[in-house]
């Protein structure tokens, strides 16, 4: 498990990048409407950092800053071209006021 930051350090609708995620790959951790989500930071279409993307809170998705592909923060699925491959999602754990990310699909209950 990798510590990301203290709860409250990511403003609502923003994200932080963890340069070295649980398996060395950069991870983006988002704060949307009180919930935290973690996905791989690099867009599957081209080398862009999703941390720099715009969060569409209504859709719980992030728009790739370059080419406007949207990825669901819950499932990692792209909404349409040019991305064709989902990004991986990761489990976020909140413990003692800190945000951690774990190399495990978010859908799998952490325990």
């Amino acid at each position: 498990m990798i510590r990301v930051c203290a709860v409250g350090e990511i403003p609502e609708g923003e994200a932080v990048r963890v340069e070295h995620g649980p398996d060395g790959v950069p991870v983006a951790v988002f704060h949307v409407r009180g919930e935290y989500y973690a996905i791989d930071d690099t867009c599957t279409h081209q080398d862009a950092s999703l941390t720099d993307g715009y969060v569409e809170a209504d859709d719980c998705a992030v728009e790739c800053p370059l080419h406007a592909a949207c990825f669901s923060l819950r499932t990692g699925e792209p909404s349409g071209p040019p991305a064709r491959v989902p990004v991986r999602t990761h489990a976020v754990v909140i413990e003692n006021g800190h945000v951690y990310v774990q190399l495990q699909p978010a859908a799998v209950p952490v325990g």
Partner: protein
């Protein structure tokens, strides 16, 4: 408008991004009947933006630029690749007939026109080898084959496509010259001030830039008269060239629609097929979408062609909904701001909205001298466009600001 249930067969003419997106939208919006997808290119649908960038550089292969998805097999599409539509006429028993170049006819209850555009060429008395345009996969393969290290490439036209090819060619160690008739590169879309900064970026990467001068002729190589040897400028200068790329804009593929009753802006289909914002045309049961259309631009305040990747990706669902007579899926406000991107010399360029001569230019972040900056264009005090280099987050924020100004 034809009732949803009346549409058994829909013909989608064009197999680029807009055509494929239309076919997908037809299924998503509940069309259960046949879909015939007609395209003059023999390739499966592919993404065009990389053709001047990663694909031309040899970093990406055709598989990487494919637009296909595993789920497309479930769409049950009737493909007619390598067949060009040459005519459209009313069917004898209602509906429409799309005439193909081989003489085949496709009868359809509804038609989606998504034939896109082609690269504009210089008028020439006879074609010379070594002279290219770049629009298709085959164009990119042909150009790439001639971009060998040390080759002298002259790019006619300093717009986005020319600038991207220049950047890619530099990375391939090609000797690059750009000729632009306007006083600055990208002066039309970005204004002279930003255009000058763009020219400086090219020059700092070793590209020779000639602005404010047109091209009068492409001269053959005296040794090999079938090949291009030089670009002759309007002021008489000759620039030696082994390879020439002409990047002077596009023309919509609308000739096949002459005489159908479809309208273009100012009466001519050469300016695109005129549509409502939802893609409806002057003909019942016929919608149009993508690069071949002309419609109202929210920031230009007038009808114009919107040759944007995002338009070709998102507008088809609107047009198909209008054709089927079902509610259109919602579009996020930011997606309604016309948006283009580019990549040059490892930097990302993003533009949204509209720019026209006379707009004020305001640098809101960074410095025009680079490496990163964001510029806002204002008209009568109101922001109408944003251009950013290497500042996706600042750009994204301003793009949303523009979206708030949409009606």
């Amino acid at each position: 408008m034809t009732e949803h249930s009346d549409l058994e067969v829909v013909a989608v003419v064009g197999t680029g991004l807009a055509g494929l997106s239309s076919a997908r939208a037809l299924r998503e919006l509940g069309h259960n009947g046949r879909i015939v997808l007609i395209g003059d290119e023999k390739h499966d649908p592919y993404d065009r933006p990389p053709l001047s960038k990663a694909f031309l550089a040899g970093e990406w292969d055709p598989e990487k630029i494919s637009l296909g998805l595993p789920t497309d097999a479930g769409l049950d599409l009737d493909w007619r690749l390598g067949q060009r539509a040459v005519g459209l006429r009313p069917g004898e028993a209602g509906g429409w007939v799309v005439v193909l170049d081989g003489g085949d006819e496709v009868r359809a209850d509804g038609v989606v026109i998504a034939t896109g555009a082609r690269a504009r060429k210089l008028p020439s008395e006879r074609p010379l080898s070594g002279v290219h345009t770049l629009r298709t996969l085959d164009d990119a393969l042909a150009l790439k084959a001639e971009l060998s290290p040390g080759a002298r490439l002259v790019i006619v036209g300093g717009g986005f496509i020319g600038a991207e090819i220049a950047s890619t060619a530099v990375s391939l160690e090609v000797d690059v010259t750009v000729v632009e008739v306007a006083p600055a590169l990208l002066a039309g879309p970005l204004g002279a001030e930003v255009g000058a900064a763009m020219a400086a970026l090219h020059e700092s990467n070793g590209v020779k830039v000639h602005t404010g001068v047109g091209v009068s002729a492409l001269a053959p190589d005296p040794e090999e008269p079938d090949w291009v040897g030089a670009v002759v400028l309007a002021d008489g200068r000759e620039i030696p060239a082994d390879v020439v790329v002409v990047g002077i804009g596009s023309e919509p593929n609308t000739e096949w629609l002459e005489g159908t009753g479809l309208l273009g802006p100012q009466g001519s289909l050469s300016g695109g097929v005129l549509t409502e914002e939802d893609g409806r045309t002057a003909l019942s049961g016929v919608v149009a979408t993508g690069d071949c259309t002309a419609l109202h631009h929210p920031f230009a305040g007038r009808v114009m062609r919107q040759e944007h990747w995002t338009h070709a990706a998102q507008h088809p669902a609107q047009a198909v909904a209008a054709l089927l007579g079902v509610p259109a899926p919602p579009v996020a406000p930011a997606m309604r701001v016309p948006y283009v991107w580019s990549e040059q010399y490892g930097q990302n360029f993003q533009f949204a909205g509209h720019h026209q001569p006379g707009d004020e230019t305001e640098v809101v972040d960074g410095d025009l001298a680079g490496p990163a900056f964001t510029v806002i264009y204002r008209r009568n005090g109101q922001p109408v466009g944003v251009f950013g280099v290497g500042q996706p987050k600042v750009f994204g924020r301003w793009r949303r600001e523009l979206a708030k100004l949409l009606p």
